[in-house]
């Protein structure tokens, strides 16, 4: 009886031992599968996030390109209207004034003065029309257009522009040159409107692997906090346009120290950045 009891006890102990070992093994294998599942799911999540980011960047870039195309088309339309309508009408006015032969010396002097003013207006409108038209800019090239524009501004006496070209100028491509010119126009506009500067230095550096455009004024400068929504969006627009052509636009300014805009471009890098931002861009 006692032997039977001991035997039964041993059997029970063996059964419990097997049960505990098997259960422990199962309870250790289950978390392994859970772990594998989580690692695989995490990898898929990472791929999903990357794809979403790529799609968002592609969308932003397309949006930016479309905005710029619309802007250029609008400017071209305005340029044509100015050239075809307004300058024609003013030329007619000038001719009519030239045909007036009556009146005393004083009246004739006033008529001549009016003719000169109309002639000046016609010239200014022609320059304006050309600067807005991308066909004209593309035809002349970036350097020539820049020289014409700086000459016109210097003649107006609004500000002194000093243009310096280092190295041998070479074509950068129509789209790039157009964007660079638009950046120059934006900087010039800001300088004339806000800075109160007397000088604007433009430096073009052409080298084998790099092109550098530097625009520096001696105005009152600004800090990031002072930038309001409108002028702030103009600065961001510059950075976005530069990024679209694979360039980096860096804007440095502080109160009392003027403003310096540097646009750097590797002319042989064809890739347009999908997220619209160059990796080194401030934004």
């Amino acid at each position: 009886m006692l032997e039977l009891f001991i035997y039964l006890q041993k059997m029970a102990a063996t059964d419990i031992k097997s049960l505990i070992i098997i259960t422990t093994l199962i309870f250790l294998i289950a978390p392994v599968f859970i772990l594998i599942y989580i690692l695989v799911y995490n990898q898929r999540k990472k791929r999903h996030i990357e794809e979403k980011e790529q799609l968002r960047s592609a969308f932003n870039q397309e949006l930016l390109k479309t905005q710029i195309e619309v802007q250029e088309q609008t400017l071209t339309n305005i340029s044509r209207e100015i050239h075809d309508n307004i300058t024609q009408v003013l030329s007619f006015v000038k001719l009519n004034l030239g045909m007036i032969d009556e009146g005393n010396e004083e009246i004739k002097a006033k008529i001549n003065e009016s003719r000169e003013l109309v002639a000046q207006t016609i010239n200014d409108l022609r320059y304006l029309s050309k600067s807005m038209s991308f066909e004209h800019i593309v035809q002349l090239g970036f350097v020539k257009t820049l020289e014409m524009e700086t000459g016109r501004i210097n003649n107006s006496g609004l500000i002194n522009i000093l243009l310096n070209i280092e190295g041998n100028a070479y074509p950068l491509g129509e789209e790039r040159e157009l964007v660079l010119f638009r950046i120059f126009q934006e900087v010039l506009n800001n300088t004339l409107k806000h800075s109160g500067a007397k000088y604007l230095k433009i430096n073009l550096q052409y080298s084998d692997e790099l092109f550098n455009l530097t625009l520096e004024d001696d105005g009152k400068g600004f800090s990031n906090k002072d930038v309001n929504d409108i002028s702030g969006s103009g600065l961001r627009n510059m950075e976005n346009r530069a990024a679209l052509i694979g360039a980096v636009a860096i804007i440095n300014s502080s109160p009392g120290k003027g403003c310096c805009v540097t646009v750097t471009l590797n002319p042989f890098k064809q890739q347009l950045y999908i997220d619209g931002n160059h990796p080194d861009s401030l934004s």
């Binding site: 102990a13 419990i16 031992k17 049960l19 505990i20 070992i21 259960t23 422990t24 309870f27 250790l28 289950a30 978390p31 859970i34 772990l35 989580i38 690692l39 799911y41 995490n42 999540k45 990472k46 996030i49």
Partner: protein, 177 residues
């Protein structure tokens, strides 16, 4: 705590009261840790308080109404309940982790490896604590395999925790670099 029944002592001289008190500190520590982990994703207070409430009720019941020798009997049911609660907390943490939109590099995530160690240890030890009452009455020589299981689980637990602490210390330095 698995080794309490390896001692095989008579109740009055048993050291089970140490492990019974240790259970309270264990529950407090793990609740603090999981509360810190869950807070990143949800308001964790209701969940933690519920877990504490269940643990407390089972602990008091077993200590005063179930154990014939009160504190000198090990609260094995409470230990099992603690294991189940911690396993559920761990699984819930994994669920919150994969549900979250942010991507986390799991290979270097200190939180992830801490929870993994905890899950392996408590999931693996459930079988042992569940059969505590039966194993208590067996001779020590016949249940030496329990100490092997216990050692294996401890190695897994502390390996994961050590790696977790390395990740915790390592990551801020690499991000500064």
């Amino acid at each position: 705590m698995i080794k309490t029944y390896l001692e095989n002592k008579i109740p009055e001289n048993s050291n089970a009261w140490v492990f019974n008190i240790l259970l309270l500190f264990q529950m407090g520590f793990y609740n603090l840790m999981f509360e810190h982990l869950f807070t990143k994703y949800i308001n964790s207070k209701p969940l933690i308080i519920s877990g504490l409430a269940v643990f407390s009720i089972v602990y008091v019941y077993e200590l005063f109404f179930h154990n014939p020798d009160k504190i000198f009997d090990y609260n094995s049911i409470t230990d099992t309940v603690l294991s189940v609660i911690l396993v559920l907390y761990s699984l819930y943490y994994y669920y919150l982790l994969i549900k979250d939109e942010r991507y986390v590099l799991l290979q270097y995530s200190a939180d992830f490896w801490w929870v993994t160690g905890t899950l392996f240890f408590y999931f693996g030890s459930i079988a042992c604590t569940l059969f505590y009452e039966v194993l208590k009455s067996e001779p020590v020589s016949s249940k030496i395999y329990i100490s092997y299981i216990s050692n294996l689980l401890i190695v897994i637990l502390y390996s994961c925790w050590s790696y977790s602490f390395i990740c915790k210390k390592w990551l801020p330095q690499t991000s500064k670099a």
